[in-house]
């Protein structure tokens, strides 16, 4: 960085720190194809890939990644829409309950895969975004970085949110906790929990008034 700029910033009481990315721009990113929003550190690059499910179906997936200095941010969206067909193609002995298990266990399976990488688990618990259930993991890695992950499933998509930053940086909760899920019309999904007559926790969808549309998507706030 130019020394004059550094002096100016210091004079203004601003510390330039690549660890926190003072000049890092956060955008409210939305993707209608994979139906999610998140705060990204710049426009992400999108990579098509595959994901091997717990029952060994090779599923299509996309990785959305935007890095800033040493900070790495990504969302992996796994599409289970064709999981049943892919499971049967893999093994004709596929049982009727393999598909539900593969989908219902998807969050747990993804969390297990993250734990297997090693490091020190500092937080490992259920979480919900807009009352969409999932899991959060905080890990101090062996290379002295911190990974904050959130894994959520809505219908046939699993969203694996990961942020990895140097341990000297503040925890990357801004990224980890900004995920939102959209429906097929671009409306942000939110639920409310309630207890039914049997005491079971159920959920009802509620209106958020947030509609993403266009290319690139932009947000319209609708009256509620």
């Amino acid at each position: 960085m130019d020394m004059r700029v550094s002096v100016l910033l210091a004079t203004l009481g601003i510390v330039f720190s690549p660890g926190i990315g003072l000049t890092q721009e956060w955008i409210e990113y939305a993707n209608l194809a994979d139906q999610f929003t998140i705060n990204f550190a710049g426009e992400p690059e999108i990579t098509e890939t595959t994901y091997l499910s717990e029952y060994r179906a090779l599923l299509p997936a996309r990785v959305y990644a935007a890095n800033y200095g040493p900070n790495r941010y990504s969302v992996t969206v796994v599409d289970y829409t064709d999981a049943e067909r892919l499971l049967r193609e893999r093994d004709s002995r596929t049982r009727g309950d393999d598909l539900p298990g593969d989908i219902l266990g998807a969050v747990d399976y993804a969390a297990w895969n993250i734990r297997k990488r090693g490091g020190e688990l500092t937080y490992d618990s259920w979480a919900a975004y807009d009352r969409i259930a999932g899991h959060q993991l905080h890990i101090t890695n062996d290379d002295q970085t911190r990974t904050y992950a959130g894994i959520f499933r809505h219908v046939r998509r699993v969203y694996i949110v990961e942020a990895t930053v140097p341990i000297s940086s503040p925890p990357p909760v801004l990224f980890q906790q900004s995920l939102g899920i959209l429906d097929g019309e671009g409306r942000r999904i939110r639920y409310e929990f309630y207890s039914d007559d049997n005491g079971e926790i159920q959920r009802n969808r509620v209106e958020t008034g947030e509609l993403w549309s266009g290319d690139p998507p932009s947000l319209t706030l609708l009256p509620r």
Binding site: L12, G13, I14, L22, W126, A127, P171, V173, L174
Partner: protein
């Protein structure tokens, strides 16, 4: 963790009522919601975003070395509706906060309240 008394008030205050909006974006299990952490520091970054706004606060530790805390607040549009303006908290301001710290012990916290440089305390949630 202990912090210098000269520069930072570090206290856990047991709260009787846990206050978080019914319309919170996400669950708050990862924060210690039954306690408030009180800190004073200097704003190094502030991001008025949705679904959450964020304040990066530089707090002097017990060794007089700065620690950078990340503080989560409500969505920007919620804060603006509640009367917050971007002029009320700005980079370089000395503020105090009451927030719920992360369970994992890292320097992150869920607001809570901000007392701005003008001495006005206001909910940032």
């Amino acid at each position: 963790m202990t912090l210098s008394r000269n520069n930072v008030v570090f206290a856990f205050v047991a709260v009787i009522f846990m206050v978080f909006p019914a319309a919170a974006h996400h669950s708050h299990q990862n924060f210690i919601r039954a306690e408030y952490l009180v800190m004073q520091g200097t704003v190094r970054e502030i991001h008025w975003l949705n679904p959450h706004s964020w304040v990066y606060l530089e707090v002097l530790g017990s060794n007089d070395e700065p620690d950078l805390w990340v503080l989560e607040g409500a969505a920007a549009r919620t804060l603006f509706r509640k009367g917050w303006t971007t002029e009320m908290v700005q980079v370089g301001d000395d503020i105090s906060v009451r927030c719920h710290p992360l369970k994992d012990g890292s320097p992150g916290c869920l607001l809570g309240y901000i007392t701005n440089q003008a001495g006005v305390e206001k909910e940032f949630d």
